[in-house]
């Protein structure tokens, strides 16, 4: 125990060391302070922008888009994935179309969305939804397809209707893998909201980053990055907390198998 916590402590020391080196290097102009401003300046800028409400406002704007695209993708592609997982006929019908559309790199959808939706929220939501579609769809499909036959037979001998069978047995059984798809999509959502806002040129944290760089407000740019890192960390934490509660049975089961 002491060994582990000791090296964790060393980890904090390393972090502080990096920060201190950054600070000194910048102040002593070992690195160009125009590009790498002192850490204290970045932090001051961060707290000022947070206190003044600039960063929270930008984050909120971005989060609204992210949530819209993400939830839309979940609402459309979880049911579709269930349908594809349940019915081999539908799966085979759409297989090739999906195979053809899947390799499209999400960022190149931005210009297409700009064409249809302009630079506004619609464009960003569409791009996020498109990019999240694949992990959600394919993981749901896989999870549903691989639900144990014995489980389904068992439920059916209890006379469950089709709807109840899906709601009570298939969805819970596939939920760990659906959660995996949703988790991957969470990271993708953050990336795509930043990309689409960089292209969108109006507001949001992605735009804020690029605009700060263009206006040479370098400390603001770093402050924006810091807030994005915190946001990503927090979202991940929230997601993990939610799945750990909802899917505690699954974690326990995996642990029991070991």
């Amino acid at each position: 125990m002491s060994w582990d916590s000791e090296s964790k402590l060393n980890g904090v020391a390393v972090l502080l060391g990096v920060v201190a080196a950054w600070e000194i290097a910048s102040r002593a102009e070992v690195v160009n302070p125009l590009f790498i401003p002192p850490m204290t300046k970045i932090l001051r800028s961060f707290f000022t922008l947070v206190a003044a409400g600039d960063i929270p406002a930008q984050i909120l704007t971005s989060m609204k888009r992210a949530a819209a695209g993400y939830l839309l993708a979940a609402a459309v592609f979880i049911p579709l994935g269930v349908a594809l997982g349940l019915f081999e006929k539908i799966r085979r019908m759409l297989e090739i179309a999906i195979e053809m559309a899947r390799p499209i790199p999400p960022p190149v959808v931005v210009p297409v969305a700009m064409l249809f939706f302009g630079l506004g929220d619609g464009m960003k939501i569409f791009v996020i939804c498109f990019s999240c579609a694949w992990p959600i769809l394919l993981n749901t499909l896989d999870g549903v397809k691989n639900v144990d036959r014995v489980l389904i037979y068992t439920a059916r001998t209890f006379g469950l209707s089709r709807g109840k069978l899906i709601a009570r047995v298939i969805l819970p059984a596939a939920s760990p893998q659906i959660a995996t798809g949703l988790r991957i999509s969470l990271g993708i959502t953050l990336i795509l909201v930043v990309i689409s806002e960089m292209a969108g040129r109006s507001d949001g944290i992605g735009y804020f980053l690029l605009a700060s760089q263009r206006r040479f407000k370098v400390d603001q740019m770093y402050a924006g990055m810091l807030s994005l890192a915190l946001l990503g960390y927090l979202l991940n934490l929230l997601f993990l907390a939610a799945t750990n509660t909802l899917l505690s049975w699954h974690r326990g089961m995996l642990g029991a198998e070991r």
């Binding site: 980053l209 990055m225 994005l228 946001l231």
Partner: protein, 259 residues
């Protein structure tokens, strides 16, 4: 397995119907056709652009950036991942820094790269390296960490040195994880190359696609998207093929060793 199973007839039929619907609806509705040209026109554009070599030049540039960024990322991340996975102390030292950087969406470093490296190749390659290094790094660390202790102990009882254990046991045992990381990074790298080209590039498929959109040459834009998707698809297939070939070779080799 019968032939009808291998050739997915209903899948092909559905795909053909979708393409036909696209073609007909965009021809019937010219307003729609301006946003989404008929497939035939997109193919025509693709053909013309291929003849004029314009698109080919962009493709080469994109592929070059992709390869540079991806390979560099692979080398750095695998090496670093093995060190961090193998030496617990090293990992503990770096853990906080890793945990702070990891959740930040990788594209957020584009402005920093622009600042330091200007607008051009270096920036695009740098952000590609940064972003695609993450999945490889994390998977490699996981892979090395999850190696069965008895496997390493076996090596030790045979009197192998640390380096030999690392090379002869740890690396092969962690390989499946590393391959997973490399596979994930394949699409990450393509995402970052195209994003970089859209934000700062003056060449490459990402730039081409955005530029054609701005000039409202939509069928050219779709031709570019088709090509970049094809590139992604081809890279993925190549990866799968290489992986399978390497595995076969590896299995053949181990089989011979046991003889």
């Amino acid at each position: 397995m019968s032939l009808s199973r291998r050739i997915n007839a209903p899948g092909l039929a559905t795909f053909a119907v979708l393409i036909l619907l696209w073609e007909v609806s965009t021809r019937l509705d010219p307003v729609m056709g301006a946003y989404l040209p008929p497939v035939s026109r997109i193919l025509q554009s693709l053909f013309q652009l291929a003849l004029s070599r314009e698109l080919f030049a962009h493709l080469t540039v994109t592929l070059g950036r992709f390869l540079a960024g991806y390979i560099l990322a692979a080398v750095i991340a695998v090496a670093l991942g093995i060190i961090l996975g193998y030496f617990r102390r090293a990992y503990n030292l770096c853990e906080i820094v890793i945990e702070l950087l990891r959740p930040m969406p990788s594209v957020a470093i584009i402005p920093v790269a622009i600042l330091m490296l200007g607008i051009g190749n270096a920036t695009i390659v740098a952000v590609t390296v940064y972003a695609s290094a993450w999945p490889i790094l994390i998977n490699t660390i996981d892979g090395v960490r999850n190696i069965d202790r008895t496997l390493l102990d076996t090596g030790r009882t045979f009197g192998l040195g640390r380096w030999r254990i690392l090379r002869a046991i740890a690396l092969p045992a962690a390989l499946p994880y590393i391959v997973t990381g490399l596979r994930v990074s394949l699409s990450v790298a393509l995402i970052l190359v195209t994003t970089g080209e859209m934000v700062v590039g003056s060449s490459g498929l990402g730039f081409f696609i955005l530029d054609e959109e701005r000039s409202l040459r939509t069928s050219n834009m779709y031709a570019g998207i088709a090509l970049v998707s094809l590139l992604g698809y081809a890279l993925n297939r190549l990866f799968v093929w290489l992986d399978a070939t390497a595995m076969k070779w590896h299995r053949g080799m181990t089989a011979r060793e046991t003889l």
